[in-house]
Amino acid sequence: MSITIFSCSDNFLEIDPEQNVPAENAVIDENTLKTALNGVYSELQSSNYYGRSIYVIPELMADNLFLSSRNTGRYLDFDNFVVSERDSYVEGLWIKLYSVLANASRVIEGGEKLKSGSTEQQVLFDQLVGEAYALRALAHFDLVRLFAQPYNFTSDASHLGIPIINQVYNERISPPRDNVKNVYKQINSDIETAINKMSASKKNGKFSVGGAKALAARVALYQEDYDAAITYSTQVINSGTFQLIDHDQYADLWANDFNSESIFEIVNTVSDNSGTNGLGHFFDVKGYADALVPLDIINTYDPDDIRLNAIIQGAKPGAEQDANFVGKFPKGTEHDDNLRIFRLAEQYLIRAEAYAKTEQPTLAQEDLLTVMKRAKPTAVPVTETGEDLMDLILLERRKELAFEGHRLFDLNRNKRNVTMIQSDNKTEESYPNDKFILPIPLSELNANPDMKQNPGY
């Protein structure tokens, strides 16, 4: 009968969750600010984001990767260049990226309301909030390059972009797509705030001033703001915080976490192992080995090019007897590799491209040579200029940044045609092309009446 009496008391019906925190209490002090920010970083580990999709899709939908004739069916429609709005990987990317935006916005809003107890603590708060700004900029940038045509697609970038999330909403929202110009404006504003707030020049596994500037340089390049691209990449290169890995130690670039060339990388520990959904599992011959490296790209390398070490020759069981596997994720199936989102070599290439496009070929050749020499110390200086130089820079980007999720973007923003390579087929898709960007997922169109689909889908 004691339970009966207990049941009559009010608190019998007051039960609180034990694995959840009320959303309004998510960021209330230094500790919770860190916890909420860690949540945002952990979203980047997802196989729907840097954990796999954003590395694989832009390469498969171009000439750097193709699916083995014996594959698990993962990303098959990207390889076939027949992506539909029902595609689960497209949907996964979309959802994950907006989750990053919503969570980062919550960290920013919560963190900016915190009262610090000391100057030291304020510096820490600013650093953490700055990281959230940088993460928000990164996600907006990834969204706009995946789901919208490049900045230069229209003269004033007034074409369809993506919905911008720059605040916390406690009511449900169904925002329409903003134009690309405004999305870049938001990205640049967030990066600027991030750079101003952060104090750490390098922070293992986290955004730092260096990371934010590397992002700024890439964004500027995509936006064709070449002066800014040169400014930011120069600041990164000249900061002294990062150095290119030597030719002899090239393997360290992929094997060693937080190596000197790495500007911002996402950490994967044993407990983060996404198992069969991991990037390593996708490439490793012991795993799915779904995506293989076509000869088309292998043939672009000089036989002495050290970067060929990141491509492993072998046989795909039950299929291609002479296969080439991606070796940039050396832990393979055993443990998810850290994900290097920004590294110094790209900054050289960004600056080279920006110089080339601003009629500064000598400087461009110099930067290009830096990257080429690391790959092959005996590389001869380039002398080309103009369009030829641009071709060389794009080729070097292809070789240097292969399998790192750049290829389709590089071609599309440079208004190039794209060669789609499949296991037994090769087609040339011409620019401009509706299908060079992903469709807005059907689930989003169904849930958001103000959402517009990309043309061609």
Binding site: A26, S99, D424
Partner: protein, 1108 residues
């Protein structure tokens, strides 16, 4: 006069009907009653408040206390009369008296001043054998279940010569005439006349007379006489549950209960089937009914992580069940308030009976086989190679090159029959032993059971151990204690379903035949299925789910006065899922990290306290009130543990202690509670008109504090038309009752914290804790309200055709729905009360006695039919919601499929064609140009069950046909098995027999199967959901066939047993499908989507029941 009257309980048939009449001891009935009764007398009833045994004198006291009647009779007239057994309930005085006087030769008359005068009449002189020719006939009287009937009366027609059956239902009578006709009667049964000419040994089967019975049915928190009940409730015929080889009683409900749809999702033994009572009551909250076992609202369904098809309710042994009642309308369920919205299934377990201890032994053993029609059998290597070569030729390659290419890559000499590899004949056995007995004050029932079933798929099996003890103790005249405890232990070996690489069913249907199971050296071929060799995994991996269940209840009842009683019940329902999973270090999931081990532990403790005050008020003969006031509190605590480690060293050792890398450890906790008060009144006016009203107030921890409490209630009316004068004497319409009800109940099955804005913990980063925004707040989230209206007619014609027809209309408002929202919110769903939905339908249940022949042949038919239509009537902003392959829109039904329409193959070039839009006027060969549109519903137009039971002497035969009509079934995996060559040489690229038989091959071919093209991009892609894989789900299934033989009493007597029955049973023997193209078994669960689950199997068994 032969009087046998000491022990009770020997005559209660296995099927425990709560028949008031039958609990009386019946003795010689040669007495001729002289009824000089008035109408009011014949209508007068008394209430027996509890089961008891009383003297005849005490019967008079009972009547005098409750009515205006007084008795006048010689003292000592009944001194030597045997006691009368009274069963709790309501009984007309006339009948009560009839029984009380059954042994005595008396007559009674009701005088004007309500005094009943009883006088002795002279003993009848039975004609002695000397006076007659000696035609002697002996025989046995049984009920239709073969239970001997003790005390049945046998009279030679036209004479006063008679006798009655003994303890074993046997009798012997000497007749005056060899043309004599015997009249066999038993109260509550249809009197039978039988010619005995030329026979010396006969068996007589009596059938229950519906009109005479005032059955008591089990209802919420109580029992009630069926005639006065205003609700829609069906008592399940336990014959359908007993003797079935199924692990859970739920699986036996298909085709046996009108208004109840049961669909098996998985052939995993012990799995939880989908059960819907009167349609889909909810969208995102549960549509499952509430299960109440001996008054305990129990935890039902799956609580496991690995064995996700497991079912806590399967822990209840069907052999321990005494009664199952399905409550369907508001009048029946409103008292369960926030949990009654989807109907309630009440289960009562067996109780002990007074008398000599009786032992029952049931043994069953059998086999099961996979049901796989030819149309579903995968291709062999030769056929598949033929397709592959053709697919190369269709890309423009020459026949020679194509043949070379394929034969260079495919070994035609390997021809694995994956069906043969993956399936097997499953062995099955079940043993049950129970004992029951007791004395006047204390009765017990105890049982143990063992159940063991192998599925038809390798590696899948199920074992169950049960025991139960139920004890009833009458401590004093006023104080009664009921105690019951059931223990269960289920062990499941399961496997992943759907697209999981380890799913053996997927391996069976999708692996190409040219891949061997074993390498030449005998090791497993792990080049296939990403190393997930299905046979190897079964051998080397562990997927074990152990469920432990304790269900205990203690009920104390005290009679404060003769009209007022208090009951308090404490219930305890504990469920533990203890699971272990091991992935071997060599292939499959554990191959890259030295093997993986995972241990799960999930506990759910559900306790419930109920207090009931019951009061009976009788104003005068015409007004009888029953009041029930109750209070209830329930709390469910759930907690779980998980540990994960990898890298094993010691061979054969799999516990986590043998692994070197600790990967993850976590624990979780959650709880929910409900606090309630309820009130019920039922009012009987002249036993013709009945009124019932219920009110309940529930508070739930699951809802926001502003909307935490809600009120529920119902009203019900019934009119017993047969009690009206114009029908009272009808021989045609022996029962006719009209009833109707309306009310509100609810649904709160939405998870524990659905109304809150939350962050989810566990998103760690770089060794530091992290959390993520996981749920948007909705302070106004509240109950789903369900408002059922019901009108029904119960009838019985000429005591042979009885049944029920009902119409219902059920409106669900404030539908709890996980509304898909724009991902820009950072979340994709939002829990809200968004709309309204209705379910309306017609139910028909018909029981007929077709043949009831004198020579012992009988034929009974039970038929039930249910037609339900579901309609969404309101959605937030009127906006349609597309959810995967379904669309939810106003005017549509809940499971309306939504996908592009497939238009077959282009006769000119073999391209797959789809309709551009719903007008179906234009086709396209570009899938992306095909708009999705409505494609029909997964819900059937109707379903029906038909059971025929034939009995001839000791032999019985029955079969159940189940028809499911007019729904659609979607096979989401058809996109993979109908790859049209897009899968190239992929080892999971098996193509279906339909492709082989019907594909387009040359211009002019008219078919709905496109051409095969190597590396096809036009059709056969996994993203191409369409009606190509949508089938008509109509099927007719011969679900159960049963042939039984009971040894005759003469033999069982010699063997010193009460009963000895041997039987054969077969289930799912035949299935007819309307759509000959369907590539899955049509029974796939309510949502109409197959998911590479273990197929339904056919089963054969032999069983033996012995009762000692």
């Amino acid at each position: 006069m032969k009087i046998k009257l000491t022990k009770l309980g020997f005559n209660v048939p296995k099927r425990l009907l709560f028949l008031i009449m039958r609990t009386f001891i019946l003795l010689l009935c040669t007495t001729v009653f002289s009824f000089a009764t008035t109408d009011s007398f014949s209508q007068e009833q008394v209430t027996i408040d509890m089961d008891k045994e009383v003297s005849v004198d005490e019967v008079f006291n009972i009547i005098q206390n409750q009515t205006k009647y007084r008795f006048l009779y010689p003292q000592d007239l009944f001194t030597y009369a045997p006691k009368v057994q009274l069963k709790k309930g309501i009984i007309p005085i006339s009948r009560l008296l009839k029984q009380s006087f059954a042994h005595s030769d008396v007559k009674f008359e009701v005088s004007q001043n309500n005094t009943i005068v009883i006088t002795e009449i002279p003993k009848m002189i039975l004609p002695g054998p000397m006076a007659t020719q000696n035609y002697k006939v002996s025989g046995t009287v049984t009920d239709h279940q073969g239970e001997p009937m003790i005390g049945a009366n046998i009279i030679e027609k036209g004479t006063t010569n008679g006798t009655q059956t003994d303890f074993d239902g046997n009798f012997s009578i000497s007749l005056t005439d060899d043309n004599a006709i015997l009249v066999i009667s038993y109260l509550g049964y249809v009197t039978k006349e039988m010619s005995v000419k030329g026979m010396s040994q006969i068996t007589i089967v009596l059938n229950e007379s519906a009109a005479d019975l005032d059955e008591v049915i089990i209802v919420a928190y109580d029992r009630q006489s069926k005639s006065s009940y205003t609700g829609a409730a069906v008592e399940v015929d336990l014959k359908a549950v007993e003797e079935t080889p199924l692990a859970s009683f739920q699986e036996s409900l298909q085709g046996n209960v009108a208004g109840l749809q049961m669909s098996t999702k998985s052939g995993q033994p012990g799995s939880a089937p989908d059960i819907r009572i009167r349609g889909i009551g909810s969208i995102n909250a549960s549509s499952d009914p509430l299960y109440v076992i001996d008054g305990i609202p129990v935890v039902s369904g799956n609580i496991a992580n690995i064995g996700t098809n497991s079912n806590t309710i399967a822990g209840l042994n069907p052999n321990d069940i005494a009664n199952i009642t399905v409550l369907k309308d508001a009048s029946a369920t409103a008292i369960y308030g926030s949990r009654g919205g989807n109907g309630v299934i009440l289960i009562t377990t067996k109780k002990g009976k007074e008398g000599k201890t009786r032992f029952d032994v049931n043994v069953q053993s059998g086999v099961s086989n996979v049901i796989l029609p030819d149309r579903m059998r995968p291709l062999n290597s030769k056929q598949h190679i033929e397709l592959l070569i053709e697919s190369r030729v269709n890309t423009g390659e020459s026949m020679a090159d194509a043949t070379d290419f394929i034969l260079n890559n495919v070994d035609p000499n390997v021809d694995t029959d994956w069906v043969d590899v993956i399936t097997r004949q499953g062995l099955y056995q079940q043993y049950n032993l129970s004992a029951n007995g007791g004395n006047e004050n204390t009765k017990f029932y105890a049982s143990v059971g063992y159940y063991d079933q192998e599925a038809v798929v390798i590696g899948i099996d199920y074992k169950k151990f049960n025991s139960r003890v139920n004890i009833n103790h009458q401590a004093t005249d006023k104080f009664n204690i009921d105690f019951g405890v059931g223990l269960s232990h289920q062990i499941l070996h399961s496997n992943s379903d759907a697209g999981n690489a380890a799913n053996p069913v997927r391996a069976m249907l999708r692996t190409v035949p040219w891949e061997p199971v074993y390498n030449e050296d005998g090791s497993y071929n792990t080049d296939i299925l990403l190393t997930y060799n299905p046979v190897g995994l079964v051998e080397k991996n562990i997927r074990e789910t152990k469920l432990y269940g304790v269900l205990a209840n203690l009920s104390l009842k005290y009679d404060l006065t003769k009209n007022l009683s208090f009951e308090t019940k404490g219930n305890f329902d504990f469920n533990l899922a203890d699971e272990f999973r091991f992935d071997n270090p060599d292939f499959g999931e554990g191959r890259n990290d030295g093997g993986r081990g995972r241990a799960f532990d999930n506990k759910i403790l559900n306790y419930n306290i109920t207090n009931l005050l019951k009061y009976n008020l009788r104003l005068n003969n015409d007004h009888n009130f029953n009041f029930l006031l109750g209070q209830e509190a329930q709390k469910i605590n759930e907690s779980s543990l998980f540990a994960f480690a990898s890298n094993y060293g010691a061979p054969g050792l799999t516990t986590l202690s043998n692994a070197s890398v600790y990967r993850e450890a976590s624990s979780t906790k959650t709880a929910s509670s409900i606090s309630s008060y309820f009130f019920n009144v039922s009012y009987a006016l002249m036993n013709k008109y009945y009124f019932n009203a219920t009110a309940r107030r529930d508070g739930s921890s699951r809802f926001g504090s502003d909307v935490r409490y809600a009120n529920f209630g119902s009203v019900g009316l019934a009119w017993n038309i047969t009690k009206e004068k114009f029908l009272e004497d009808s021989n045609v319409i022996t029962n006719l009752k009209l009833r109707t009800s309306y009310g509100i109940n609810g649904n709160q099955e939405i998870g524990d914290f659905a109304s809150r804005g939350l962050y989810s913990t566990g998103a760690d980063y770089d060794g530091e804790p992290g959390y993520i925004y996981s749920q948007q707040i909705n302070k106004n989230l509240t109950w789903e309200k369900n408002k059922p209206f019901n009108v029904g007619i119960d009838f019985n014609l000429i005591n042979r055709i009885s049944g029920t027809v009902e119409y219902y209309h059920r409106t669900t408002t404030d539908l709890l729905f996980r509304v898909p929202i724009s991902a820009t919110n950072g979340l994709t769903t939002y829990f809200d009360n968004i709309g309204e939905m209705t379910n309306s339908g017609i139910e028909l249940a018909l029981n007929t006695i077709n043949f009831d022949n004198q020579d012992g042949f009988s034929w009974l038919t039970n038929f039930n039919f249910t037609s339900n239509s579901n309609e969404i009537t309101k959605l937030k902003d009127g906006q349609a919601i597309v959810d995967d392959n379904y669309i939810r829109e106003i005017g549509g039904d809940f499971y309306t499929f939504y996908m592009p329409g497939f238009a077959g193959a282009d006769p000119d070039n073999g391209d797959a064609l789809w309709y551009v839009d719903s007008s179906e006027s234009q086709t396209t060969n570009q899938y992306s140009e095909a708009q999705p549109y409505n494609q029909g519903s997964a819900l059937p137009d109707f379903f029906a069950g038909l059971t025929n039971t034939f009995t001839y002497k000791n032999l019985s035969f029955s079969f159940l046909l189940y028809l499911n009509y007019g729904n659609k079934v979607y096979d989401p995996w058809g996109r993979y098995t109908s790859s049209d060559g897009s899968a190239r040489l992929n080892d999971r690229g098996n193509m279906t027999r339909n492709i082989y038989n019907n594909r387009w091959q040359k211009p002019g071919d008219v078919t709905n199967v496109p051409k095969v093209v190597y590396g096809n991009k036009q059709s056969g892609l996994s993203s191409q959901h369409s009606t190509r894989f949508l089938y008509d789900g109509t099927y007719l299934r011969l679900r159960d066939v049963s042939l039984g033989y009971s040894l005759s009493d003469a033999i069982t007597k010699k063997m010193a047993v009460n009963e000895f029955k041997i039987y054969l049973k077969a289930s799912n023997l035949l299935t007819w499908v309307k759509d000959k193209n369907i590539e899955v078994d049509p029974e796939v669960g309510i949502g109409g989507q197959s998911d590479l689950r273990i197929p339904v199997s056919s089963q054969f068994l032999i069983g033996l029941n012995i009762s000692l």
